[in-house]
Subunit: 408 residues, 2 copies
């Protein structure tokens, strides 16, 4: 008898986080769960008594197919970090009282680093009070910065959107017969995995991006300007990918460089441009070349119309594996992906002690970054399997159809 | 005997401008043209002797299918405006000498307003010198601002990308349980057609954007702030679409408002933020609400992975219709689309005197814009048929495949 279970989503959304939700829901139901509750806005919603019975919202197989294709967190999200147990026991007492009231036997949390921290604390507290509720983490993040796991669900689809869009931007950027420079800013404050996916744009039918700048290496503005000058001198147009997190030697972000004069606009506000905009303006004014700065912004985490089927499938699998593990008695664990073969690409799931994962940030190994502002083939071989295959959107009246809570 | 023909692409690219190129190429070949030349970088390339024999680059039916799905101008583009005939006869002499050398009987130019001006001048000059070369314009522009034609190929796909992406951005933007405001800036300096497409995001499964601001109406900042304050007071997150071309009462663009103080960054350059960024910063600092500014930038004109099949088909048809008309003796004309029925949507092609089209900018009728920062159902009914149906990308190794000149 597995009783009732509850699942929540937390942190920044991805295009495939709902596929993990489907994985938890369907596997729990298939394995005999009575009710599957969904916390609204994560643990914060649970504390406020906000939750739904998922069976009332996911009724048909069409609902499941739509939910897999729906970006952002179906249940809503939060950015709430639990206090240390010793600092605020009351919060934990509230949560466990709520779980007892709902007769919960297993608790699943889909999220990134902060969410794994939540699983860690809740499972620690369960040991303290001798509760037999199981707590399992289901990984997601477009940033791919979770430790231990080979990669993180959400990353492959974001990488695919970035590479596909860059191929189009490159075609667009090379259309004139004079040099232009397009600088594209990509998410990832400390880890360059998303920006590195720009390298996938180089292929038989595409020149690819010319340079890639990652936050793992100090950004040298003088060298950057020299490179741009040299490479555009031949009349060639350039497309350059930069991480939002690139920093100069003194530790400041590039986008902070525009800020050390007290700039106020017509209304008295300071304005910060992005790194790409800053660099584009600098090239334009110093080298006199036509430039354009472009940010993918939230599109890279919500472009569900361009997902990787590999990613969608794995997102489902980590959800399902979490349920299986909990129902078999595991707790305080995170499901991780383990790549067992590159060619053919094969990845399996395992569970791992959450204490050894939470709050560790995985960056790109420096040996995968080249001195000429690019990445190695090893890094490209690592990413490429993750963007393979498609799950076409279900189009209704010309637009991708989604499932929205409350619409059923 | 129709002899040889030549075709060029000009102005800003679109996702479907190559479908028009295929329409010209295939129809000319099917109707007995000997050689179909392509000017590289438009009329400017022709002047420099840069052209290709298209048969050497479009060899298979797969090439045709790839080319229809390839964004940007396959032949390259230019922004060259011909001088008045009376000011510089030599240019015209050069062009016609080149056309004679290539034994050209018909000249096709795919482009927007400036390109139609080129067709007008060349056909005028042909009359002056008694040349029997036919000159035909093939319309394209994402801006949809060409006169006479019901709409312009390129617009439907850009509108579809905007609406589809907004649906995703809205799902992403409403994920937290506190109010956030996302301002999305959309292309269109003087005409709001692209920004108006944001209204398509409102549907059974989506709240849609909350407000739409078009350049056809004066932008009142105080009223905008009041609206934002009122609507977000309920705790609701907002997604707002603004045209890059919105202007305040004194005629300045909103993005210029940040510029009247002499802002210099660390390197001594003035920086201009976009309209969305400016408004987001203002809301953030004055109302203390979390905001995000987002620009679709060139993605809206090059996102070939999200095209409208209606648009692709019509882009092909206007190319084909131009060839048919020229081969039947017409010249100095532009192909236009005429909507003969809304439901079912039926559009036919006609030809129209280029003198009555070139250099006229079509804006949104004011009666299609409501006082509460939205658009009327009439405008939505006008746009919706143009985004219907899909032409799925041909995916290779996880990414959309394109055809690139020189790759065959």
């Amino acid at each position: 008898m597995v009783g009732n279970v509850i699942v929540g989503q937390s942190g920044g959304p991805t295009s495939v986080i709902n596929s993990s939700l489907v994985g938890v829901y369907k596997t729990a139901k298939d394995r005999g769960a009575n009710k599957v509750y969904g916390m609204l806005h994560g643990i914060k919603g649970l504390l406020d008594g906000q939750y739904v019975d998922l069976s009332e919202h996911i009724k048909t197989t069409l609902d499941i197919d739509l939910l897999k294709r729906t970006p952002s967190s179906f249940l809503g999200s939060c950015r709430y970090k639990l206090p240390e147990i010793c600092d605020n026991k009351e919060v934990y007492e509230q949560i466990f009282a709520k779980l007892k009231e709902l007769e919960i036997s297993a608790f699943f949390y889909i999220g990134g680093n902060d969410s794994m921290d939540t699983i860690k604390k809740l499972s620690d507290y369960a040991i303290l009070i001798n509760s037999d509720i199981k707590f399992m983490g289901v990984p997601k993040t477009i940033d791919n910065d979770l430790a231990i796991t080979d990669h993180t669900p959400g990353y492959g689809s974001a990488a695919k959107f970035i590479a596909a869009s860059l191929k189009e931007i490159i075609r667009d950027g090379l259309v004139y017969d004079y040099p232009t420079i397009t600088i594209v800013e990509i998410m990832g404050r400390n880890a360059g995995w998303l920006t590195a996916a720009a390298a996938l744009s180089r292929s038989d039918d595409c020149e690819g991006v010319d340079m890639i700048y990652l936050p793992e290496k100090v950004f040298d503005i003088a060298d950057f300007m020299e490179q741009v000058k040299k490479r555009s001198a031949t009349g060639k147009s350039l497309v350059i990918a930069v991480s939002e997190g690139i920093k100069v030697a003194d530790g400041r972000y590039v986008f902070e460089l525009a800020d050390h004069v007290e700039f106020v606009d017509a209304f008295g506000h300071k304005q910060l441009a992005g790194s790409a905009k800053f660099l584009a303006d600098k090239i334009g004014s110093e080298l006199g070349i036509k430039t354009r700065a472009l940010e993918f912004s939230t599109l890279q985490r919500c472009a569900a119309h361009m997902t990787s089927r590999t990613d969608i499938t794995e997102a489902f699998q980590v959800g399902g594996a979490a349920v299986k593990a909990a129902f078999e008695g595991e707790t305080g664990k995170v499901v991780v992906l383990k790549r067992v073969s590159d060619d053919p690409y094969i990845c399996i799931t395992e569970t791992h002690d959450v204490h050894k994962i939470a709050n560790i940030e995985k960056k790109i190994p420096l040996e995968w970054i080249t001195d000429d502002a690019y990445v190695t083939d090893d890094l490209i071989h690592y990413i490429r399997p993750l963007i393979q295959a498609e799950l076409s959107p279900i189009m209704v009246d010309g637009l991708p159809r989604h499932l929205r809570l409350g619409d059923e």
